[in-house]
Assembly symmetry: D2
Amino acid sequence: VPEVHPNLRDAAQSPGGEALGRLVFETLDVDEAARRCSVVFTATPHEVSAEVVPRLLDAGVEVVADLSPAHRLRDPGEHARCYPRVPRDDALATLAIYGLPELTRDRLAEARLIAVPGCFATAVTLAMLPLRELHGVLWDRITVDAKTGSSGSGNAVRAHGMHALRSTVVSPYAPVAHRHGPEIVQSLRDHGVTSPSRPPRLAMSAYGVNAVRGLSVSVYLFVEGEVDGANLRSAFRRTYRHEPFVRVQAGASAVIPLPDPKVVIGSNFCDVAAFADPDLGHIVLIAALDNMVKGGAGQAVQACNVRYGLPEDMGLDALPLFPA
Amino acid sequence: VPEVHPNLRDAAQSPGGEALGRLVFETLDVDEAARRCSVVFTATPHEVSAEVVPRLLDAGVEVVADLSPAHRLRDPGEHARCYPRVPRDDALATLAIYGLPELTRDRLAEARLIAVPGCFATAVTLAMLPLRELHGVLWDRITVDAKTGSSGSGNAVRAHGMHALRSTVVSPYAPVAHRHGPEIVQSLRDHGVTSPSRPPRLAMSAYGVNAVRGLSVSVYLFVEGEVDGANLRSAFRRTYRHEPFVRVQAGASAVIPLPDPKVVIGSNFCDVAAFADPDLGHIVLIAALDNMVKGGAGQAVQACNVRYGLPEDMGLDALPLFPA
Amino acid sequence: VPEVHPNLRDAAQSPGGEALGRLVFETLDVDEAARRCSVVFTATPHEVSAEVVPRLLDAGVEVVADLSPAHRLRDPGEHARCYPRVPRDDALATLAIYGLPELTRDRLAEARLIAVPGCFATAVTLAMLPLRELHGVLWDRITVDAKTGSSGSGNAVRAHGMHALRSTVVSPYAPVAHRHGPEIVQSLRDHGVTSPSRPPRLAMSAYGVNAVRGLSVSVYLFVEGEVDGANLRSAFRRTYRHEPFVRVQAGASAVIPLPDPKVVIGSNFCDVAAFADPDLGHIVLIAALDNMVKGGAGQAVQACNVRYGLPEDMGLDALPLFPA
Amino acid sequence: VPEVHPNLRDAAQSPGGEALGRLVFETLDVDEAARRCSVVFTATPHEVSAEVVPRLLDAGVEVVADLSPAHRLRDPGEHARCYPRVPRDDALATLAIYGLPELTRDRLAEARLIAVPGCFATAVTLAMLPLRELHGVLWDRITVDAKTGSSGSGNAVRAHGMHALRSTVVSPYAPVAHRHGPEIVQSLRDHGVTSPSRPPRLAMSAYGVNAVRGLSVSVYLFVEGEVDGANLRSAFRRTYRHEPFVRVQAGASAVIPLPDPKVVIGSNFCDVAAFADPDLGHIVLIAALDNMVKGGAGQAVQACNVRYGLPEDMGLDALPLFPA
């Protein structure tokens, strides 16, 4: 383990120890897992998840929270288009509950399979959720500009990922057709954010920037008629008033006043803000999160806390490490 | 000088020397400048430019290339709105030629005052210029997402500019109403990029990212009817075929295939690329440049080369420093 | 609070809340502090600590853990030389226990005032402690090369700390006479690391590098006679076998095999390693830690845990955030 | 070419063009090279240089400047120990002139083979050269701490070189036995820097830091008897008074007062400074340069300029790019 996770040296090596040595690493044995665990989190490549998730459920694991995209898209056609090399059980995908508690809290209590959202999809969906209350948005003209650190690319070793080539870039790695687009559209429709009469069209471009952790998304929208900035901002406050992990940034005087991955690193927070330009009939929504916490493992834990009626921030009370 | 520009130590200290010691630093004396110089470049704050540029021209300097925004916007109302604290000579602004050679090459030969474009405005305008040839673009739905390194903020000393706070950010510092917007719209109209019947509306958001030099802009557009990607790409190739400083990126196999400030640093290049998503009726235009060269001093030199019929790349033949 | 600590937004604003909102911020009232607290941590500038620490103790606070250097150096002359503008109570400094548990664990149980060590001093002392067991070290020829991120400079706003000037540097900011030198020498003598007959002479140079958190120190030593590498390494293993927060790196195959601040960020670990070059009679000791945890607040907590017989890692069980 | 050097796009593609398109890329043909070139620069891996350099000289090329270490070490035993997999022509190595003009300017006029120095070796040797004039230095107690950006590791694709793992590190990659050590010692001896009666012993440790270009070295020395700081500094001024590429930093008020790779990037400068601590009998020498210019290709050009009596800064008059 320390070869890949040098931070876990000693933590990993003394499984019987206390506190800092409490992590135990074992090879997956599906039956053994079913015997010992109510919940299994699968943070595996989607092709592995597609194969192992059904086996875990069949073996009797009560809940599987799958961090891969294998079971996120219900529509088999969309899935095949986005992940062509990953056949998966379409019926299972239909049963999966999307693990974004701010969106699906009510349905998680009965979940057997939780499809943990993608990192960009989490940020974009949380940025757009308060628009449920707004009128006049042109749902067929949504633009998303997504910016991520290098940890978002996984740990494959590639020439263009080397430090000398990847430092200080603004690198457009997916100018069109990012795979999180359909995932977002599915959520917007499911939850009545967009108008049923006007199917959403969302164009998303993704960029690599010079950071390791963290991502930021900007959602750009046009509105027919007047844009009411005060109404927009109060929709955000109302939507997230009781959410423990979504912080609405008011842009008040501070060294970092607006959503920035810099101030959420290591935590399960997603920071959001909304701006309106009345002259242009334009709305700007910004969300920032740590792709490895609220955009990954943290969100999976949060969803399982909800699933079992545990305090939603159990195991998730780490404050952002700042400055880092 | 070395206190502010430590790289110029020795170069600045030996004014009589050769090669590396050839820079001479003097306090500005308008009459002396007029006696000795045909061209004066003013890289001064806009309030200083507004005051000194008329004096230089009155004193007989043949050409002034002003890097400040003092004389960029012809419309007095727009100028007052964007730069409220800078009264300037509106008549002079009317005479100024916008110093973007790819746009105004024909008119520069007669210029007395060259208004050197803003860094973002240069990139966005070069990204959009080839659209002159396209039909169906929704000119009232333009979105610009602009990402810049810290040198773009100038050298004022501020808490949120400190390294510990400014590193690894994605910092939305101007989510709406960036001052380069009207400058871009003026150029698009002047040069027939946008349709006269449909006045452009351009929404621009600007972000600080973890780099010192360089910027990248993305322009997002919607199209009525079919988007023809091949036609779009050939419009780019046609527009820039003979331009020495605009490189159309084809996305071919390379470690950095698309426009990225990383590969233009230290040079006068602006790299551009265009993408179409036919399913969404969406166009993505990306441009990257060094904000201190093609987005500043280099462009000023290029414009003056054109002004005097000199080789356009005289003094500008530095290749990008890579990797840096 | 969020103006200065944007990561604590909401956490700071809801003092009565649960978990994420459990932080309470108040202005210091010495008597009130004495009424409510057994322990007070003072993370104040040294001139403030010099003034407030005696008042806290007089008011009846049982233990003060002072993170400033006000009470670290027992010798009044050394203190006056290193911190000339900070008069402090020399008697108090004599009573203070140096809060480096790996060194002073036995004495902390009776501490009323804990002088929490400097960040570099912690790393250098932990790197040198195992040398107690070695013979032949030339104690008058110690060289320390210390490398730190920008958070080590505090949060004063200064021109040379701006991102554009501070990024990608290797900046020698204290080539000679760093103030942590005497603190280290005091510890080496107190704990019998160096030979009593040969007073240590330690030359220390400090550099800023392009990171926010974390520091690394290298200690270079010469040895008379043979250097026994195996003996050196086993001295490290023996010294730190039971220490929860010092990890001896064996250089085994891993992506980051040796002490690097990168793999301790956010944790209270200090990673150490030792190398011998027999041909040159030379020893290299390397230590890395997070300057804000084991080099600051974390160490203060650890020392107080020891003071009260609590589990030493209480409140300190955060694993390093990696990659960050 | 643009696949590996994306900055050269277009510059490489239009070999017949002017200025920006003046680079021509061809496969090496030794006979053709001999026909057309007086000088050939070989920037090849050492095993390639060892094979191709003799062939180029045999074919009649007047001067070969080899950037690899194949011919740097005259002593066959040292070479075999440092570069065990590279047999080379020892006689050729004996004839090679070390291409550090500040050291070997007088001998370069007759060079047929120029062994261009290593990047660290250049910096360390330039830092130490003025010590020729000093007495009492303990030549058997030299310590070098070398810090480099990621470009110093070449372009091999490796897991620990990935951006997520290589960013913000202070990574000790060669704590002992760096291969530039013997190269430095050879130069110190050849040029009478160290005392003939006391053979130098130099211990060198190398670290990767979070930068792409540039390196910094610190040389730590002890002195018997008094250290005279004024004398030390004037030795530096005297040694480099007429050197076009070595700048002695006086530490005067400036945003970056001391040698820092940050202020030499893109140039052929090496910045140096010296400090003495009389209390400790200690000397600190610091040198910074761009590993790809003064530590590589720039130095090769400089040496060839000297070889042919050309202006020494021909082709090397680029000022440092700052801030970058």
